[in-house]
Amino acid sequence: MVDKYKEIFDEFSGEAGDLIPILQKIQNKCGYISDDAIRSISPFLRISDNQIYGVASFYSQFRFTEPGRNSIKVCMGTACHMKGGHILGEAVERELKVKPGQTTEDKRFDFQRVACLGCCALAPVVQINNDIRSRMTVIRLKQLLDKYE
């Protein structure tokens, strides 16, 4: 069980400040923070499961459920909001039948709302996996979603 994370732990000396970078590396590798992961970090950093969970849950980056095969992020920053970002978010909820923070039943997509992807001049934007798409419309978004398996 511990072996799964050993490679990650090896990069760190085990100080308190390592917690967030460790969580980030685990999420990068496994897609989310499982109970199993938290239980393994605890002896390494000598802090309790609860403390780890307390820190992890403070930050919106960390997820505790398995991600989908694709991930869609809809920007809810100010520039995007003013250009209808929330309407795009509703479209995703309707099309994929998911709520923010959830994964579709068939695991095709997970859906998150984010605050600003830094491309505000080209609002509204969505990010699917690693690609940011700008000047998005409801109709183009629907077509785009169909391209992902």
Partner: protein, 634 residues
Amino acid sequence: MNKFKEISRTARKKWDQLQSSAIPIIYLGTASCGRAAGAKDVHEAIKRYLKDNKLQARIIEVGCIGPCYLEPLMDIRLPHSPRISYANVTPEKARRIIESLLINGNPQVQMALGHFGENGDKLIEGIPRFYDLPMLKSQVRIVLRNCGLIDPEDIDHYIANAGYAGFLQALEKGPEGVIAEVKDAGLRGRGGAGFPTHKKWETCRNAPGNIKYMICNADEGDPGAFMNRSLIEGDPHCVLEGLLIAAYAIGASHGYIYIRAEYPLAIVRLKKAISQMRAYGLIGKNILNSGFDFDITIKEGAGAFVCGEETALIASIEGKRGMPKSRPPFPAISGLHGKPTIINNVETLGTLPNILRNGAAWYRQYGTPGNYGTKTFSLVGKIRRSGLIEVPLGTPLRQIIFDIGGGSNKQFKAVQTGGPSGGCLSEEFLDTPVDYESLGAAGSIMGSGGLIVMDEDTCVVDVARYFLDFTQKESCGKCSPCRVGSGHLVEILDRITKGRGLPEDLIKLQTLGETIKRGSLCGLGQTAPNPVLTTLRYFRSEYLNHIKEKNCPAAVCKELIEYRVIPEKCTGCRGCVAVCPTGAITGPRSEPHNLDPTKCIKCRACYEVCRFDAIAGDAIIIRSRRRIHDDHTA
């Protein structure tokens, strides 16, 4: 020192060779904004085209030069010609331009945006100078001087353009000399509050202890602002040089860059840049034989707005929940791990090399007394020319929004400065000079540089609700005025936007807002009510419209609007029928369609089709329910 001289000489030579290159150079803007607009596809298409046609050219990926609305931007420089810029390039358009220019020598004047020629270049008739374009003309580019012009992943490009010369100056002046120069320049922190940079440096330098930390705040939490991202992506070394100078001044031997995880490209570029510095001996032990040791760790944020606040940021680096602490003690005395710590914003750091290199007097020629220098802004929202700009402090809002930004397509309504902590200013304030004090006097703040323009189609009550919803969700929960109070504000604003507001709500918003400002522990709560308080002050009638008449004049608030088909305009193309997810629109081809408001979920699909589809008649409108009602009874 001598080693660096040698490095500079080589870098300079490399740069000069590039400028007099015998083969064409294609510069492509591939910062995040360029990529979002499709620059990577363009890149692939160019590479393939060059290969298929056996054309020789060098492609250089550059950062964002500012007019993001024109992305993807591609520039081409033929031997002995100035660099010419082309906007909104698609793979097809790129192929056409390259074919025309590289094969036929025809610069396609009608497609060109501008050229970067200098005196002495053979200029091309019909193409304006890039820096004479309306968006660029009144800008002063100091911090952004290299963005879009150099290869951000090549330290030699930076060094060839006087890079690290500011740091050399700093070493010559000594730490006290650096602090004196920055004081003389009148530099104030660009992260929002405008605190004099030299003051906190002095406190930190004089604080006892030999372990001190220097932190670069690249958390850029304001949703709708991207100045720091652009700068790091376009010219990472200027921020790193600034970090070196600041660390040297305060006597820190370790530095951190705290950067949001939402900026993956910026993180990659910083990491590359740091390893290049290491290879050149600009980081590590005994830098350039000066006896100064310094190293940098990159810490990725994990998605919490409040972590932009200094004490919360420190808690986050220490591996804790990002909760602010009450001050004093200030971080300059007791910060990271209890040691004296300075936190500076990306742009503050990016300014330092320029001040050290050119001197305080030079810097003071820009801006106004007390507000010297320039400031970058991300100009977004309902504005024609959106993007990243840099202007001297003291420039009036009107000049920024209208001369540089080209105004809104529709009637201008308001501008929000300072993001969620800032205020929403109406038309009467357009002549306000953009400086810390004037914006403060108007009830807003300078903030980090987000400028969000609103037109008549923006509902200010919705905007206020949006910001409060944001800050309430980002409140760390430690103090109750912020945690509970902002929740109440959202509740009230929410019911107003739903047409269920009560007349006494306005007074409640006001008193609650003022209480939260006074009672909150950190800057987040202390400024959170600003969007409500300013909109209440300058756009009261819009609130009253929502409350008394259940009317959203901008036709934004979902519960107060309706979608309609104008029969006279409808061409009966059935475009909307095809996209309507609920079957609310019906009707045979070639006859005006019927929209059933009871089935309509206001998803906007029909509206988009009707506006963008060639055969549609622009017949679907979104209007305030109240107005539709009035039109019927009139």
